[in-house]
């Protein structure tokens, strides 16, 4: 069972927007979509490692700021013309009482 780490309030993330969580292994991008759902991905596009937290959030996708790849927030997979070209790791996230919880950090190898 993973433990969970409180990283802030859901309302700290703008709707249709994203915020970063800094970790020892690099940033995690936490997204809030227009329907109020929260997603988390490693903050790195599978294409040229653009910071997805800086992209435009629409539906359940984010458009990477560097070359406009559209990444599915739930799966981390690129969509549309870039489908099948790599994948951004998904970070387990959940919302409890308005707080955003990320899965408890694991020690880096």
């Amino acid at each position: 069972m993973p433990a969970w780490h409180d990283v802030g309030a859901v309302t700290d993330i703008p709707e249709r927007g994203s915020r970063r969580v800094a970790t020892a292994q690099g940033d995690v991008a936490v997204f809030r979509t227009s329907d109020g759902q929260v997603f988390a991905l490693v903050d790195r596009c599978p294409h040229k490692h653009g910071p997805l937290s800086q992209g435009i959030v629409h539906g359940h996708g984010v458009t990477c700021p560097l070359h406009s790849w559209v990444i599915d927030l739930k799966t981390g997979h690129p969509t549309g013309a870039d489908a099948g070209k790599g994948c951004t790791p998904v970070v387990p996230v959940r919302v409890q009482d308005g707080r955003v919880l990320l899965a408890q950090p694991v020690m880096a190898d």
């Binding site: 249709r16 969580v21 910071p51 559209v70 970070v91 950090p105």
Partner: protein
Amino acid sequence: MTKEKLVVIGNGMAGCRAVEEILKRDPSRYEISIFGAEPRVNYNRIMLSPVLAGEKTFDDIVINDEAWYRDNGITLHAGRWVTGVDLEGRKVIAEGGLEVAYDKLILATGSDPFRLPLPGADLSGVVTFRDLDDVDAMIAASAKPGARAVVIGGGLLGLEAAYGLARRGMGATVVHLMDVLMERQLDESAGYLLREALLERGVETVLGAHSEAIVGEDGKVTGLKLKDGRTLPCDILVMAVGIRPNAALAKTAGLQVNRGVIVDDAMRTSDPAVFSVGECVEHRGNCYGLVAPIWDMCRALAEELTDGAGAYAGSVLSTRLKVSGVDVFSAGKFAGGEGCEDIVFRDAGRGVYKRVVIEDGKVAGAVLFGDAADGGWYFDLMKAGTDVADIRDTIIFGQAITEGLSGLDPSAAVAAMPDTQEICGCNGVCKGAITSAITTQGLTSLDDVRAVTKASASCGSCTPLVEQVIRATLGDGFKAQTGPKPMCKCTHHPHGVVREAILAQDLKSMPAVMQAMEWTTPDGCASCRPALNYYLLCAWPGEYKDDSQSRFINERVHANIQKDGTYSVVPRMWGGMTTPDELRAIADVADKYAIPSVKVTGGQRIDLLGVKKDDLPAVWADLNAAGMVSGHAYAKGLRTVKTCVGSDWCRFGTQDSTGLGIKLEKFMWGSWAPAKVKLAVSGCPRNCAESTCKDIGVICVDSGYEIHVGGAAGLHIQGTQLLTKVATEEEAIQLISAVMQMYREGGWYLERIYKWMARVGLDTIRAATVEDLDNRAALFARFVKSQETAQVDPWAERASKGVEAGEFKPMATLPMGMAAE
């Protein structure tokens, strides 16, 4: 044989419904008594909204009158509080020491409205919306002329309360914590429409509002104070922020209780003789606050208590709002999700928005606004798990159309439509009119059909259907659509049509545009959102609130993102001029923040490259302190005015090109445009400032100023064309501003001036800005108006005024790495 004794605690909807269901199955099995806390008979609590609104009376909503209790031999203990349950001795203890023995006990204690623990919550005039006493208090408050009400909570109940109060003649304001009304049932598009519909009915809404305190005088409420400092005056304040299961009695008695009274699928609590139904129940981890699940529970309980086997498996929920003339329906995964597909239909004319969510070939949810007639049908399909792959293409049009065409593929369905079937609602064009136009006039394309019949020529939402009709009529002879390309995949409208509609229909927000122009996605995409944001900003300067989440990152953080995720910072240098003090400040900033690269740009600026996002506000603060502001090197808007030294220094200079460049830049900075705009002013025809490859260029000559337009030196190389020559600096500034404004109002997003000019023609631009002086003055005036609110240094706002503070630092820092899947 003596009857078994059944005691029900709770004379509300659940308790009485459970009794009804039992009587229906076995009328003579039990000797029944019911305890109710309210001193009245059983009534339909969910119909309190129409009572408040004056659309029904209390008598209308009574479910079971006194005769019902009498005829069924039920003993009603109305207004009698139950103080305890003796599980061991199987008896209920009520106020005044009354004890009633039971063989089977049903707890139907319902729920309590949640009261926010705000200061002042105990003032007189602060009520919830739960029972008839609350309604009576609200009606009494509305009797005072000019009385105002504030409702905290923009959910189902809060909105119904506010609507009811408005119907009673009160000014009603709903204060909602979230940015969307009924966000648990509606997406943003439907929430927007609901907000507009409520406004028409006299209910104002304040979204994203945090309540701070309830204020009052002489023990009576006078207003609600918000965290942003505003106070909303009111004579009555209604809290409608949710309910919590009332499980206190069960807990005291020693039953297993979590959020609610825990029951199994037979509605049995942890004591085998005690059952529970309704809003007090927690079943498989769920607590319910709607009526449909209660009916499901009561049926299961009645089965169990009449020799059957109760099997309640949880409820799938749907919601309807009870506000007259506002049709709202929501069910299931209305907001979509992974693996879901959205089918969206908007009819701007009728104010309709429908979204059906399909998952694995089945309906997973729906949200309907304006026309909810098919809500029940979608809900049935959803609950039954019906495979809808075959009706995928028509499902959004509802049951009548879909079943009329069932079993046919879409093209066959269109072929099978009668000639009298209306295809284009805007222009009243039937299928027969289209097919006969095609065959008699030899039409082969959508444009032809549009021109001849007007089908799909207005809102365009029937375009796919019209294409189907053409295809069905012509087969392979059909030519696919040509003409202006749609803005993006979210809409079939091109940029120009959307821009015109924003002005013509007074569309002032993104949801308004998406509804009126019948967007097919719920919140647009990375392509249309920045475009719409610009169009709205341009159309309604000072009025439209910029949506930073619809801006590309560079414009959101006012710096240019680089390949490694760092940013570049370019301070403004008016006309390309700088000073030793500015250069020293730039050097200090570069040292202080270990900025790796300092570069001179083509637009006569200095670029600091490799700045970490977290450092941006501090870098800006230092540059601001030295008098520098954002150079907007990231903007779809005015970037640089490049100049040569002109008559100040140059032996060939004919005019003060540097001075004019600085004046232009000081006048025009901060203006947003469809794409980047670069200017230059050269002091003589030798053109050292390269004016003839800029968007707008000035070449000074002895007798005045040549104004050139439409150059480019990027992806395309293109020399400018001469627009005209003017005599004075003042006229040059006015004309250039007018051209800029014409481009701002007519250009398509991301369309540079040279492309816009190729599209509309230099002659058109000349006629509008050179020949028609009144029009030039009007364009200039609109530009000036737009600049009134545009010229705010975005760096200063973020460096020292705390704007978007959360943007620049991580929301949290964790010492270790994260568990990525």
